[in-house]
């Protein structure tokens, strides 16, 4: 057997491929295999033996088909009887339910009826088809090779190499303009990485409540509060509002000042325990909006990254790496919270050009 396997494998690598004599690789060829006993005797069905069972099956089948018609009619009737009444969600539900149930009956009854017909009443002796090798016969294959050879000779594609090679070159070159065309998918003369560096926040922009745009006073933000914040003026943007919001969304929270650990260079980024962090996850960009006011943890509901608000929103769990960028804030003369500047780093998911 071992001898057999090794030899066969060498054969397997060669190009001799045939159906009958195809190499079996490392397959064990059992010389004394049990013989195929041939087809078992046919077992007749009840409907073959008992005429009343046959009639019953027939009755079942046509009853099902009639039932299907009933279902279709029911669906049409339901369409009219259960109209959609504006501001009545229940009417939508009934419309959906009854048209649907009518159609369900219509479809299932056809299906079950047809299958039952096939199973119980149609001739049920199994048939046998012969299989032939998938490969064409040797004759066909020879002829195919011959045709290619003739085509080669008649066209001279093998001989006239200059024609052939220049054609190949042309065929490679001609789709390239299409690739260039795809540049038009995005605005021309714009560097995408530069767009990601900045948001709408700038020095003096007031923090406003999402979605009303009402500016927020520092005194409004009580301990334990979480405000969902947009830059003031965002709602007035006509074009590009969502694009700006996708970068500028901020979560504003107030903690006890003593709970916050601030490095020296960011000491004045918060105001009396009020901190503002980008709401856009540094992993793949979901809004990190779940604030737990006792544990001071921010959680992203998409991939469960967790950020510690008391420690510059550093990652404490999950796939994100970078802390959420902090928006430096202060108050203006009227007591409204304002940004000291834009974020000092790009917000949102990482990108190649970011450094």
């Amino acid at each position: 057997m071992d001898d057999n396997s090794g030899k066969d494998l060498t054969a397997a690598d060669s190009s001799s491929v045939g159906h009958e004599g195809a190499p079996a690789g490392t397959a064990v060829v059992v010389r004394d295999a049990v013989a195929n006993p041939g087809f078992p005797p046919h077992r007749p069905r009840v409907t073959d033996l008992n005429p009343s069972a046959e009639r019953r099956a027939e009755r079942t089948v046509y009853t099902l088909f009639y039932l299907s018609i009933v279902g279709s009619v029911f669906a049409i009737v339901a369409y009219m009887v259960f109209p959609i009444i504006p501001e009545e969600p229940d009417s939508v539900r009934l419309n959906n339910l009854f048209i649907g149930l009518g159609l369900t009956l219509a479809l299932l009854a056809i299906g079950i009826g047809a299958v039952h017909w096939g199973k119980a009443l149609m001739f049920d002796h199994e048939g046998v088809d012969e299989r032939h090798p998938v490969r064409g016969s040797d004759e066909t294959r020879e002829r195919a090779v011959e045709i290619f050879h003739e085509a080669n000779v008649e066209s001279g594609i093998g001989r006239r190499t200059l024609i052939r090679n220049s054609l190949i070159g042309a065929l490679i070159a001609f789709p390239l303009p299409a690739v260039v065309l795809f540049r038009g998918l995005g605005p021309q003369d714009t560097n995408p990485a530069a767009l990601l560096e900045h948001t709408m926040w700038k020095k003096g922009t007031r923090l406003a409540i999402d979605p009303t745009g009402t500016p927020i006073k520092a005194s409004d933000v009580t301990l334990g509060s979480a405000f969902h914040v947009i830059p003031e003026g965002l709602q007035d943007l006509g074009h590009g509002k969502l694009e700006e919001k996708a970068k500028a969304a901020v979560l504003l929270m107030r903690l006890k000042p003593e709970d916050i650990n601030e490095p020296a260079d960011k000491k004045d980024w918060s105001y009396d325990g009020i901190v503002a962090y980008s709401k856009i996850c540094t992993h793949v960009g979901c809004p990190v909006a779940l604030y737990e006011q006792q544990t001071h943890t921010l959680l992203c509901p998409c991939h469960q990254s967790q950020f510690d608000v008391t420690n510059q929103c550093e990652v404490i769990f999950g796939p994100a790496k970078r802390p959420l960028p902090q928006l430096p804030i202060t108050v203006d003369s009227e007591g409204y919270l304002i940004a000291q500047s834009d974020f000092t780093e790009p917000v949102g998911p990482s990108f190649w050009e970011r450094n």
Partner: protein
């Protein structure tokens, strides 16, 4: 009614005229359809429940085409902001894209519109699920072996395209859930080295979310992807016709025949009826069960998000892979950001997909078997393949389950951190455990088969022999049943041999190693000699 009479009747009608005959004649003289009927009409298809899984996928696709066409009549693939003024009260006056507003109108202002939306979406979930189950059947029975390797590849590409269809469709209503899904795609794309930022920029036509993406996905969803899918399905089915269907081992069945029912009439009745059954089940789900309630999600807005934000099930494995990554895997190197928290899942899933795609070629290389295989393996008779499959399924299932880590946490009252840590462990260890356990189970089942063939079934009847000894009577297995247990392919590990130059190549060594891994544990099928010996022992 016998076969012969049916055929004659058919010919009779054609000859004798009548309306049907005249119509048939008219068509045949212009299409040569009689040749097709002659070739295919009595083509034999073997009958087994698992052979219908591919049909489920095909039928779901037809249902998707039908319901989807209806939806296109009303859907507006535009992200132009409009103020919603439809029937759903809690969104009245809310600014949203025209796509979202038209999706709501389909749901709340067109009779049967919600039904069609739900049919479309349920059928889409079913489509991908049925392809998945169909592929598992193909894999575990070895139906991908020669000559069907290329059809496996086509089928697998269809699986990927079905997911792409699903994802593009899921994103069209521009609701909060799908918008956050796109946001995640945007984040993943941006994390790709070198080209990520640009791809995202071109895909969204500027900065995320822009006003282009829905229209672009719509073109893909209703034009490009379906066209490719239809073409590939046609190829896939053409190959099924060319190869003829595989069959399970059974008495009378050989590698040179195919046993089953003819297309006309039995198979047509069963398969045709089955289409209506699948449609009916989808319709039942659509009429009774809500799917994708976009009215709850509201329009996309980059600021809100819902707890339990998940993709549809077939994208779950990718979402799960993102969740499994531990913190800290992102670095700035050479002044550029390397997001391994995104690259690792992308590369891992890419490799996983690649291995599944080329598995038929790997196995063919290991066995060196160039014969055509039309008789399926029972999974136990290919223990290593089955075990690899179980490992792959386990890996996929762990990723998939991880995508619902938060819901597992709330519903089983455990911590989400605990769920993730457990899944991280399982994603690495689980496949090995599954491999080992499955392989042992397969070998044990093969041993049991041998026992049954040689000694019969345990009948449960205890007899006391004259000598006072108690024995259980074994019921011998009949020869038809026995054939299923003894007819399988068995491989031996490859022996390393020098090639014609007298050298042992690295490839040869690798191949021998793989071969040993595949086939070192093997149970041989019972031979006739063994069978005779066991019979003489018993009598």
């Amino acid at each position: 009614m016998s076969t012969a009479t049916t055929t004659t009747e058919l010919v009779e009608t054609k000859k004798s005229g009548g309306l049907t005959g005249a119509a048939a004649n008219y068509i045949d003289e212009r299409t040569s359809i009689s040749t097709a009927v002659k070739e295919l009409g009595r083509k034999i298809f073997p009958d087994h429940w698992s052979f219908l899984l591919g049909e489920v996928a095909l039928y779901s696709f037809v249902i998707i085409l039908l319901s989807g066409s209806f939806l296109t009549f009303f859907f507006s693939a535009s992200m132009t902001p409009v103020e919603y003024d439809g029937s759903y009260m809690p969104l009245k006056g809310v600014e949203m894209s025209a796509a979202m507003a038209s999706s709501l109108d389909i749901s709340f202002d067109i009779r049967g519109g919600l039904l069609m939306r739900q049919v479309h979406h349920w059928a889409a979930l079913l489509f991908v699920a049925a392809i998945g189950l169909h592929m598992l059947r193909i894999y575990f029975t070895g139906a991908f072996r020669k000559p069907r390797e290329l059809n496996w590849v086509i089928g697998f590409v269809l699986f990927i395209l079905a997911m792409a269809e699903g994802f593009t469709g899921y994103s069209l209503p521009d609701d909060l859930l799908s918008g956050n899904g796109l946001r995640i795609i945007d984040g993943m794309v941006k994390g790709m080295p070198l080209v990520g930022t640009w791809i995202s920029f071109l895909l969204f036509g500027g900065e995320f979310p822009g006003e282009a993406i829905v229209g672009r996905l719509y073109s893909l969803h209703i034009l490009l992807l379906p066209a490719i899918i239809v073409a590939l399905i046609a190829m896939h089915l053409l190959f099924v016709v060319v190869h003829k269907h595989t069959q399970y081992p059974g008495a009378g069945r050989t590698n040179q025949n195919v046993v089953g029912y003819p297309v006309l009439p039995v198979y047509a009745a069963k398969a045709g009826g089955f289409f209506f059954i699948v449609f009916g089940i989808v319709m039942l789900m659509a009429s009774l069960f809500t799917i994708n309630p976009i009215w709850n999600y509201g329009p996309y807005d980059p600021s809100p998000v819902s707890a339990g934000t998940q993709p549809d099930w077939y994208i779950g494995f990718a979402d799960g892979a993102l969740r499994l990554i531990p913190p800290g895997l992102e670095f700035v190197w050479l002044d550029r950001t390397w997001s391994f928290n995104i690259l690792i899942p992308l590369v891992t899933l890419g490799l996983f997909i690649l291995v599944v795609l080329i598995y038929p070629f790997i196995e063919a290389w290991v066995t060196g078997d160039k014969r055509e295989h039309h008789i399926l393996d029972r999974p136990r008779n290919a223990p290593t393949r089955t075990a690899i499959g179980a490992a792959g399924v386990t890996f996929y299932a762990v990723l998939w389950a991880t995508a619902s880590s938060d819901i597992i946490a709330t519903h089983f009252k455990v911590t989400m951190e605990g769920v993730i840590h457990t899944m991280q462990f399982l994603a690495i260890v689980g496949p090995f455990i599954a491999f080992f356990v499955t392989k042992r189970i397969c070998l044990a089942l093969q041993k049991k088969d041998r026992e049954i063939v040689l000694h019969g079934y345990e009948s449960g009847r205890i007899v006391r022999l004259p000598g006072g000894e108690y024995i259980e009577v074994h019921q011998p297995v009949d020869e038809y049943e026995r054939w299923k247990l003894v007819s399988y392919n068995d491989y031996k590990p490859l022996m390393i041999r020098p090639n014609s130059q007298g050298k042992i190549t690295v490839g040869q060594k690798a191949r021998a190693g793989m071969s040993r891994w595949f086939f070192e544990d093997r149970i041989e099928p019972v031979s006739s000699t063994e069978l005779e010996r066991s019979h003489s022992d018993h009598h």
